[in-house]
Subunit: 413 residues, 2 copies
């Protein structure tokens, strides 16, 4: 059983945080497009960023800031322009943005982190940003999480938010998170972003390690279309305002904190996959029997990312042959005589031999997922075992529908 | 300039080959479904097969045959059932098929190679195959290439065939090829298959090396949906009937033969990509400036395989940001300050800085490709330079349309 409970409040649920989201005029749609997250005290900061060779200016900026010092007090995020592939001018824009936020909050600009999402190749509309910064600072509030969650999305259909609470030394410790993303890159609207707040007292090194592992088990295990963005960013703050004993080495309390951090990240990651462009259901793939966790995740991601598996599920076709083919090409050696495939509770292949199963009932299982409740009954479970190893891992994706193509093709320049 | 000319005759253009294609009753559609390629004398045989961990029985069979001896006289190919993930019984079926072909042709069964394409998890309909084998042997003819090309396809829209001729020591040497494929795996109809015949005199070791390199520069550089089949097979025979001097070491004549073999494979590979499920045009991506050829091909394949690039081209949207993003995530290090992107002759990004370009004309260029002549004016060219290295490479793909989803989803069990 999980060692935590769900609470309300999102990123402002942990103590000592404020947030805001406003309309600054960056998005052509006129929807909210500027978010600010603020910690009342300097917070430990960790980050995981895109592995792409083509990085947005804000990603370069954050990496440099976090290399120089492992703490921050504010994260400004704009939606509308990705500020990626914008050359030298794009980087100057990030420097100016950071300084403007620092001035408005009366904190050093070194304590300001930045994120952007939107059209690649477009600079941020700096006039709108300059006049928006004082407004978003003025709007900061201890109940501002939903406003911030709404201002970072682009073509997402829903906002993504979560907060969990546990106890450490009998005192409450909380982690909150918000995210955006609906396709690794959107039709010109780029990027997966996630911001996590925490009030635990934890060392910078541990916090960064926890975040990297949690990212591997969540955001790095989802796939919508296999495309990694130029702007992908996950930033996590820990400001110590829970006033619990400091976690400075591995042990039961560090494990507890990491498990809760992983749960927050997995919730947000699954919400992104479920909100994949055109998706009608969430696909969860669990792989067992590998040598290690990494190999299991690799097979799980290949299955969750296969266009053929995804379109079969959209077509409500229990086509296990495509699952077998995707597992086989994942780059992880296994004996096909050991392969076992289950869709929901339907066992379809065992010891590499096809089994008889109720195709009508299996198709009905897939149909049910398309109408199930959000992030609960709308999940299609694929279980694959490839051998006797102790490695296991999960990945998440969504089905591939006509709407994916429509969303990504019917943008005209 | 190419050192060869196009001729007619497909796989029966080289001397000493016969082929046939008949309807044996394997496909539910009643279309031709059994092909045989026959060399009048024992031919050097080389093969390149799927790298999937889940391999069809015929792939295991061919690998064992070619390991034991590097020659063959016949290739039997059935369409309808993939005979993959069919366990022990599937392998017994391949052994029986090989023996039946050997008996009907009066050759050792060790000289028979096999290929299958169709539904994964289904055994070959052995009754139909048993009665079909004598018929396909009786139908063998020196003009049977088109019949064979028509009997190996599944949901391909067109057959794929080519023959080229050059001279070695003033005598003609010919290579012919046929292929099928329209998606790395089809909606239950799996697989890319290609069969190449040649009448050159060449050593087994050189022929295998030439084939492996040609496959890397052709079939391994195309992508329709990123899915590798359980049955992918490329088999090339060289029977020596040109009676030209034997090519047993590297030199001008070996290079000439390999260049022509590569051209045959590239023609077939491009035809497969162009025939990708739902495609309206061929996409050719050329990458230059890398350290080596492999890195260039890797970037080119990532761009050609990106769902976002593919749907932008279907939408006739000159969205270079998606090309930049795909190049960036290909796993090949480069400096984004050196990135240059061209679509057709439109230069869009230079030294990592976006340029002004005529968006209407660039969109018209994409529109024109959708109506251009097959494998000629229907090609969208994407050129990417990432630095000053001497490596270059190409990859081919197709756009992503509504029809891809329709074809792959609207199969109901």
């Amino acid at each position: 059983m999980a060692d935590w409970q769900k609470i309300t409040g999102g990123i402002t649920a942990p103590r000592g945080y404020q947030a805001a989201g406003i309309t600054a005029g960056l998005k052509p749609s006129g929807l909210p497009d500027l978010a600010l997250i603020f910690s009342e005290t300097e917070a430990i900061a960790a980050g995981v960023f895109t592995t792409s060779q083509v990085k947005a200016a804000c990603v370069e900026y954050c990496r440099q800031r976090l290399q120089a010092k492992h703490s921050a007090r504010a994260i400004l995020c704009n939606a509308g322009q990705a500020n990626a592939a914008t050359g030298t001018q794009g980087y100057l824009d990030t420097l100016e943005s950071g300084m403007a936020v620092g001035q408005a909050l009366n904190i050093p600009s070194e304590s300001v982190l930045l994120a952007s999402t939107g059209v690649i190749g477009q600079r941020i509309k700096m006039d709108a940003l300059r006049s928006g910064i004082p407004k978003v600072v003025a709007a900061l509030s201890e109940t501002g999480s939903d406003a911030a969650a709404g201002a970072i999305i682009t073509t997402d259909l829903v906002t993504k938010s979560i907060a969990l609470e546990t106890t450490i030394s009998d005192r409450p410790v909380r982690i909150g998170g918000i995210a955006k993303g609906s396709g690794m890159i959107h039709p010109n609207m780029a990027t997966m972003l996630a911001f996590v707040t925490c009030d635990a007292v934890v060392s910078p090194a541990l916090w960064q390690q926890m975040l990297a592992r949690a990212a591997d088990r969540s955001f790095n295990s989802i796939t919508v279309d296999g495309d990694t963005s130029t702007n992908d960013s996950l930033i996590a703050l820990a400001n110590g305002q829970s006033r619990t004993p400091a976690i400075i080495e591995w042990g039961a309390e560090a494990e507890k904190l990491e498990a809760m951090l992983t749960a927050v990240c997995q919730h947000l990651a699954k919400a992104i996959a479920r909100d994949g462009e055109g998706a009608t259901c969430l696909i969860e793939v669990e792989v067992t029997g590998t040598h290690d966790e990494l190999s299991a995740r690799q097979i799980a991601k290949t299955i969750a990312g296969s266009s053929l598996v995804k379109s079969a599920i959209f077509g409500r076709d229990p086509n296990w042959g495509r699952i077998a083919a995707a597992a086989g090409r994942a780059g992880v050696p296994f004996e096909q005589e050991n392969l076992q495939i289950k869709l929901g509770h339907f066992l379809m292949l065992e010891n590499g031999q096809p089994l008889q199963f109720d195709r009508v009932a299996a198709s009905a299982y897939l149909k049910k997922a398309a109408t199930g409740a959000y992030l609960q009954e709308d999940t299609v479970l694929i279980s694959v075992n490839v051998g006797n190893g102790h490695g296991s891992g999960k990945a998440w994706g969504c089905d591939l529908s006509y709407d994916y193509v429509r969303i990504n093709a019917e943008y005209t320049t």
